[in-house]
């Protein structure tokens, strides 16, 4: 009995916070646009079976007819992938340094990584507007030290989006890697070096594989929210930055077309869920093979 209760907790979590919202969105994606409150038909009000009988997938068909949508998905995937790699490149050395730091420093270092969360996300992204704009701090500083003669245009470009994503999600990358490296047994590296590995080779053959789980967790934590990101591209990105979050916004707000917006969201979810499930399966199989 106790065991059943314990197991049911994550399932209730999954049901209430994932499955039910997903079904609501899926239901809207099968309906038609209308000028009413709420702006779609049919609704559950006419009865469940009536609703089922009127289902059709025309909104999903519509998405395949216009190249805007797959281009936006692809461009979002590209931006999310590149920013995940950049975050890893920036985050790994930081996590590594933290894990190697003397014991008494670590709580402070950890605190410093978490500290930015104490300010609102929106304010931090707005701060980057002030830093990156043509008249901003960065350009003024670079002009002052004489590296550049003309202000660089960074704000309103994809570069600014990458900077924003890397900055915002960096702690999500650092923390899991740090916790993996923190638990790393130092004697394993000593053993590798005793057996003739150079320090670099020991890092590559021992440290990296042993922190793999941290790297994977960090990459997921960055990649998934970056894929659907809306705030960062709309504040820092240019008009030509095409991301699925912006397309969703346009469908929802400009076209008032909730059904098509929901269809876009359902597909976004599938793009995320399917690879993650496949990956998990693969991991499990590997773990089983090893034992």
């Amino acid at each position: 009995m106790r065991r059943a209760t314990l197991i049911s907790v994550p399932y209730i979590w999954l049901l209430a916070l994932f499955l039910i919202p997903f079904l609501v969105v899926f239901k809207i994606s099968l309906s038609d646009i209308a000028l009413a409150i709420p702006p779609y038909t049919p609704t559950m009000r006419d009865g469940f079976w009536n609703m089922l009988s009127q289902l059709d997938f025309e909104n999903f068909v519509f998405l395949t007819e216009d190249d805007l949508y797959w281009k936006a998905y692809l461009s979002s995937l590209q931006i999310a992938l590149i920013s995940t790699v950049l975050t890893l490149i920036v985050g790994y050395p930081m996590a590594y340094a933290m894990a190697r730091a003397p014991d008494q420093w670590r709580p402070t270092l950890l605190m410093l990584v978490i500290l930015p969360f104490w300010t609102s996300f929106l304010i931090r992204v707005y701060a980057w507007v002030g830093i990156l704009s043509n008249e901003g701090f960065l350009n003024q500083f670079l002009l002052w030290i004489g590296v550049i003669g003309e202000p660089l245009t960074i704000l309103n470009t994809n570069t600014a989006v990458y900077i924003g994503i890397v900055y915002t999600y960096l702690p999500f990358m650092i923390l899991p890697i740090y916790s993996a490296l923190d638990r790393l047994d130092g004697s394993l590296i000593e053993a590798a070096e005793d057996l003739g590995c150079s320090r670099l080779k020991a890092f590559w053959l021992v440290t990296i594989p042993l922190s793999k789980n941290g790297i994977i967790a960090g990459c997921f934590l960055v990649f998934i929210p970056a894929l659907g990101e809306f705030v960062i591209p709309s504040l820092l990105g240019g008009s030509s930055t095409l991301m699925i979050g912006k397309v969703l916004f346009e469908e929802f707000f400009s076209n008032r077309d909730w059904p098509v917006a929901s269809a876009v969201a359902v597909i976004l979810l599938l793009i995320l869920i399917v690879p993650i499930v496949l990956f998990q399966r693969n991991e499990q199989r590997q773990a089983e093979a090893e034992t």
Binding site: A36, I37, A72, E135, G238, F253, N255, D257
Partner: protein, 360 residues
């Protein structure tokens, strides 16, 4: 027992409501003298909760979702018309709006195009969509005879190619830019048929690469700071930028021009959502706003013309005497209004706009 508790809770909630009556207002950003909000609270004893938005689309989505919790909202004309059709607003109780005698028939009649007989809304502010220019920078780039009073300034790629160096912002509002592009071409700006609307696409596509950003509120600060030198925006916003730059004494001089090819005249109107929690308080707020001195204070602060005739004697010369705000008869004749697109045309317009902005 449970029943008893429920009724006690309900009773408490009721007395709570009676103690602290609230009115929730959802208005455009930078669109009121904040002293007025305090004044309303002091005069009526009602708590005013004031939120802001910067696009009609965001407001409309909230209205169509229902249950927004707001008592007063401020949609523009075409959006007002569509939301009335969707059943989002309640009819105003004219008996509670004693100050409605102050309203200006010239404006009320034009708003009636969207809200027949002014049954659902009162006009708050109106203005034009035009061009804000950092005169010094633009003349430096395009020469003394830069076409600052013409849409050619932003719709002629030759000009835009040079202007991109100092920065150009354009409103992220297809329903205003497509009519402007049509006016530039000499077509009917209020065209509803897809063939005519498509004529606007090449005009906008050709200049899009030179536009730093399509955005509907950032240009106020960007113009005032000197980050950009040209913005297609709303009259009062650009005049606010002019004043902020003057106050900052940063050497930036901004001028507003209603283009000679014609400018869009728009109306922002206050309406009460059908499910407003406190319609009575909402009427009080509307009546407060229609008071001549209050309305004048708002206009004096935001540099937009209002639909209140009685307020005009309280307007400062900077506002009532500025043809960029209260246009003279000839300019007024040159202004056009638009009607809302139907759902299918709207999709064409949004799709076209995405294509213009992103190239896809």
């Amino acid at each position: 027992m449970k029943k008893l508790m429920l009724s006690t809770v309900a009773g408490l909630a009721l007395t709570g409501a009676a103690l602290a009556e609230e009115v929730r207002v959802y208005n455009w950003s930078d669109y009121i003298d904040e002293d007025l909000l305090t004044k309303f609270e002091e005069e009526t004893g009602i708590d005013l909760i004031y939120d802001v938005f910067d696009s009609n689309e965001v407001l409309e989505t909230k209205m169509l979702a229902g249950g927004s919790g707001y008592d007063v909202v401020v949609p523009s004309g075409t959006f007002l018309q569509r939301q009335i059709a969707a059943g989002a607003f309640q009819k105003l109780d004219q008996s509670k709006l004693t100050n409605s005698v102050n309203m200006w028939d010239v404006i009320s009649e034009r708003v009636a195009k969207y809200d027949p007989d002014n049954q659902y809304a009162i006009n708050y502010m109106w203005g034009t969509t035009g061009i804000g220019v950092n005169v010094g920078k633009v003349q430096e780039i395009l020469g003394e005879d830069a076409p600052v009073d013409s849409l050619a300034l932003v719709f002629d790629p030759a000009n835009m190619e040079k202007l991109q160096a100092c920065g150009v912002h354009i409103l992220d509002a297809p329903a205003e830019l497509i009519p402007a592009a049509l006016a530039y071409l000499g077509e009917n700006p209020d065209a509803q048929d897809a063939d005519t609307i498509k004529l606007a696409e090449p005009v906008l596509t050709n200049i899009a690469p030179y536009v730093q950003k399509f955005h509907s509120s950032e240009y106020i600060n960007a113009l005032a700071n000197g980050d950009i030198c040209v913005a297609v925006g709303w009259s009062g916003d650009i005049l606010q930028a002019r004043d902020r730059a003057a106050e900052a004494e940063n050497g930036v001089e901004i001028e507003y021009y209603a283009p000679k090819e014609g400018a869009l005249m728009w109306f922002d109107n206050m309406a009460i959502p059908v499910d407003a929690p406190n319609p009575d308080g909402a009427h009080k707020f509307l009546n407060f706003i229609m008071d001549a001195q209050n309305m004048a204070a708002a206009s004096n602060y935001v540099y937009y013309a209002n639909g209140n005739l009685a307020s005009q004697e309280f307007l400062v010369e900077d506002v009532i005497g500025d043809v960029a705000i209260y246009p003279d008869a000839t300019t007024l004749e040159n202004l056009y209004t638009t009607t809302p697109y139907d759902a299918k045309t709207q999709r064409t317009v949004t799709r076209m706009w995405t294509k213009i902005k992103s190239g896809t």
